[in-house]
C-alpha cells in the first residue's frame, strides 16, 4: 500500500486528488490537507464581487465529495515538511494544524510515501500598507472578499444615484502582483454594473496596473493575427478601455493606501496620489509559509523553498537577464530537486523568473508582474503529477515522469466584461504556449492558436466553464472527460 498526501485543495491539488483516486486501486491511500472546508471556483468570484452571483454559486463543501470518492480529508493547514521523516520513522512526514472548528489548533504528524505541495498562494496584503479587506481596499481573491467587495460597490452605486460623483479604482496593489486578468475582468464588470444602474456618467473608473503596457497580463502580452494583420493585445485591450471610457494608469507600484487615497509610483520614478471612493486592488502572492526539517530536526527550509516561499522544482533558477530567458528554464516534471517523491504544482511551485520583462523605476522600485500559473495550467500540472505518481506506484520508481511545461502548454483566458445571456461580453483569449518561446516562434507563440476575440460568445464560454468545472470538481459522472 502506498500513501499519497496532497497539501491544498485548489484547482491543482483537487485535480491531482481526483485523478489519483481514479488511477489507483483502493489499497492505496490518497489524503488531502486543506485549511478550507470548501472548494471555490475562483474565476467566478468576479461575478460575486459585482452581485451577479451569490457565494453559494461558486463554492461547495469538500468533505462530502472526498467521502464519496474515498479520499481522506483533514481540514487543517500544513506547517512543516519533514522529507526524511524523524527519529521515529524514516518516511516523509508533514506536520498539520487543524482549522476544523471542533479540532482547531490541534496538531498531528501525517506520514507519506508521495507528497504533492499544492498549497496555492498566501495573499500578501501586508506588503502594501493600508491595503486589503482589513485596510481601505477590497479584494475578490476569496468568495468572502468578493461578497464584501459587492457590498461596498452597492454603497457607492447608491451614492451615485444621489447625483454625487464617485471614483472607482480597480487594479494591482503592488509592483510584483500577478493575476492582472482578474483586475481587468473586475474593472469591466464594475463598468457594466454602473451602466446597468444608470449611473456610469457620474463615475470615474480607473484601472491601475503594474503592467508596463495594457494587455500584458503578466505573460509579456500577445500578438494576434487579425484578418491578415498582426495586432497586439496592447492595442486590442486599449480599444476596449477607450470604448468603455475606463482610464488606465500603467507601470505602477502602490506604496500605501490611506482612507480614500492611493499613493503610488510609476516606472518613470515619479510619485502620485489618486483619490478614490471604492478600490479593489489585487495583493501580491507569496508561498504559504511552510518550514522544512531534516530527520535530525535541522531547518532545511531554504533547501526546499525559494525566498518567496514557493517550492523549488526542476526549473533552471540561474539568474539571467530577460534576453537570455529560454523556454527550457521552465519546469517539466515539478519534482523537488533531490527528492523523488515530492512535487509542487499550481501557484506553489517557484517559477524560474517572470514571463513579462521585469522593470525597475529609477528609484530602484521593482515593477514586474509575476507569472500567472492558475486555472488551466494549474489543473494540467495537477493531473500530470498524479499520473507520474500513479505510474511509480504501479510500475516501480523507475517509471518515467509525465511532463507538462508552461512553455509547451496552452491556456484559455476568458475575461468577463459584463454579464447577461444576451447583453454580456467577454474578452476571450487563447495562447499557446503560456510562456513565449522566441526561439520557436517569431512572435513568441503559435499565431494560429493565439487569438483574442471580444463578444457575447466570450460570456457564454465563461459561463459554460463555470458550470463545467464545478461539475468536474464535484466528481460527478464522467468528470474525467472534461479536460483541465
Amino acid at each position: 500500500m502506498a500513501e499519497v498526501l496532497i497539501l491544498g485543495a485548489g484547482v491543482s491539488g483537487h485535480t491531482a486528488a481526483l485523478h489519483l483516486r481514479r488511477l489507483l486501486g483502493s489499497q492505496h491511500k490518497v489524503t488531502v490537507v486543506s485549511p478550507n472546508s470548501q472548494w471555490n471556483w475562483i474565476p467566478s468570484n468576479i461575478w460575486v464581487g459585482v452581485g451577479e452571483m451569490a457565494k453559494k454559486d461558486v463554492v461547495f463543501p469538500l468533505a462530502p465529495v472526498y467521502a464519496r470518492k474515498k479520499i481522506g480529508f483533514h481540514q487543517a493547514k500544513a506547517v512543516a515538511i519533514r522529507p526524511k521523516g524523524d527519529a521515529d520513522d524514516p518516511r516523509g512526514a508533514v506536520d498539520i494544524e487543524y482549522t476544523l472548528p471542533e479540532k482547531a489548533g490541534t496538531t498531528e504528524r501525517l506520514r507519506y510515501d508521495y507528497l504533492i505541495n499544492a498549497t496555492g498562494p498566501k495573499l500578501k496584503f501586508e506588503a502594501t500598507e493600508g491595503m486589503g479587506p482589513g485596510g481601505h481596499t477590497e479584494s475578490v481573491c476569496t468568495a468572502d472578499h468578493a461578497v464584501e467587495a459587492n457590498h461596498k460597490l452597492r454603497e457607492v452605486i447608491e451614492v451615485l444615484k444621489t447625483g454625487k460623483p464617485q471614483t472607482l479604482v480597480v487594479g494591482t496593489g503592488h509592483g510584483t502582483c500577478t493575476c492582472e486578468g482578474a483586475a481587468f475582468e473586475y474593472v469591466f464588470n464594475v463598468d457594466h454594473e454602473l451602466r446597468q444602474a444608470g449611473v456610469r456618467d457620474l463615475a470615474r473608473v480607473v484601472y491601475l496596473t503594474n503592467e508596463a503596457a495594457l494587455g500584458d497580463f503578466g505573460v509579456d502580452g500577445m500578438v494576434f493575427d487579425q484578418q491578415g494583420f498582426q495586432t497586439t493585445s496592447e492595442l486590442w485591450t486599449g480599444s476596449l478601455f477607450r470604448e468603455r471610457g475606463v482610464e488606465a494608469i500603467v507601470g505602477t507600484h502602490v506604496h500605501r493606501v490611506e482612507e480614500r487615497t492611493i499613493h503610488y509610483e510609476t516606472l518613470d520614478g515619479t510619485s502620485h496620489t489618486l483619490e478614490f471612493d471604492f478600490a479593489m486592488l489585487i495583493p501580491p502572492f507569496g508561498g504559504v509559509p511552510l518550514q522544512a526539517y531534516d530527520a535530525e530536526g535541522n531547518d532545511i527550509t531554504s533547501e526546499l523553498f525559494a525566498p518567496s516561499g514557493f517550492m523549488k522544482v526542476d526549473a533552471d533558477y540561474t539568474p539571467k537577464p530577460y534576453e537570455e530567458w529560454r523556454a527550457e528554464d521552465w519546469p517539466t516534471t515539478y519534482a523537488a530537486p533531490g527528492y523523488d517523491n515530492i512535487w509542487a504544482v499550481g501557484i506553489a511551485f517557484a517559477p524560474p523568473h517572470q514571463i513579462s520583462k521585469p522593470r525597475k523605476s529609477p528609484n530602484g522600485t521593482v515593477i514586474a508582474p509575476s507569472p500567472p500559473r492558475t486555472g488551466m495550467p494549474s489543473g494540467v500540472m495537477g493531473k500530470t503529477v498524479a499520473m507520474t505518481i500513479a505510474d511509480r506506484i504501479k510500475h516501480g520508481t523507475s517509471a518515467a515522469p509525465h511532463t507538462a511545461s508552461m512553455a509547451r502548454m496552452g491556456a484559455a483566458c476568458v475575461a468577463s466584461a459584463g454579464t447577461g445571456l444576451t447583453k454580456g461580453s467577454a474578452a476571450a483569449m487563447t495562447m499557446l504556449p503560456v510562456v513565449p518561446d522566441y526561439q520557436r516562434y517569431t512572435t513568441g507563440r503559435d499565431e494560429r492558436e493565439t487569438r483574442g476575440e471580444l463578444g457575447l460568445h466570450g460570456h457564454w464560454v465563461k459561463l459554460m466553464l463555470h458550470y463545467l468545472f464545478l461539475y468536474k470538481a464535484k466528481a460527478r459522472l464522467g468528470w474525467q472527460m472534461i479536460p483541465e
Binding site: 495594457l214 498582426q230 502548454m409 496552452g410
Partner: protein, 59 residues
C-alpha cells in the same frame, strides 16, 4: 511584445494613458459582437480551438 505608442500621459494629476489612438469599434463590429447567430458560431469555434489546444499542447 510589440509596442504601440499609446503612452502619452494626459495630465490631470495622474499619468493616465492617452488612448485616443486605440481603434474604436464601428457600429457594424459592435452589432456583430451582439448578434446571436454570429456569436453562436464564434462560441463553437472558440470551444473547438480550446480542444485543439488541449490535444496539441498539454502532454
Amino acid at each position: 511584445m510589440a509596442q504601440l505608442s499609446m503612452h502619452e500621459p494626459a495630465g490631470g494629476g495622474n499619468p493616465v494613458l492617452d488612448l485616443s489612438k486605440a481603434p474604436l469599434p464601428t457600429a457594424k463590429t459592435l452589432g456583430a459582437r451582439r448578434n446571436l447567430w454570429l456569436q453562436f458560431w464564434r462560441f463553437v469555434a472558440f470551444d473547438l480551438r480550446i480542444m485543439r489546444m488541449v490535444i496539441k499542447g498539454h502532454h
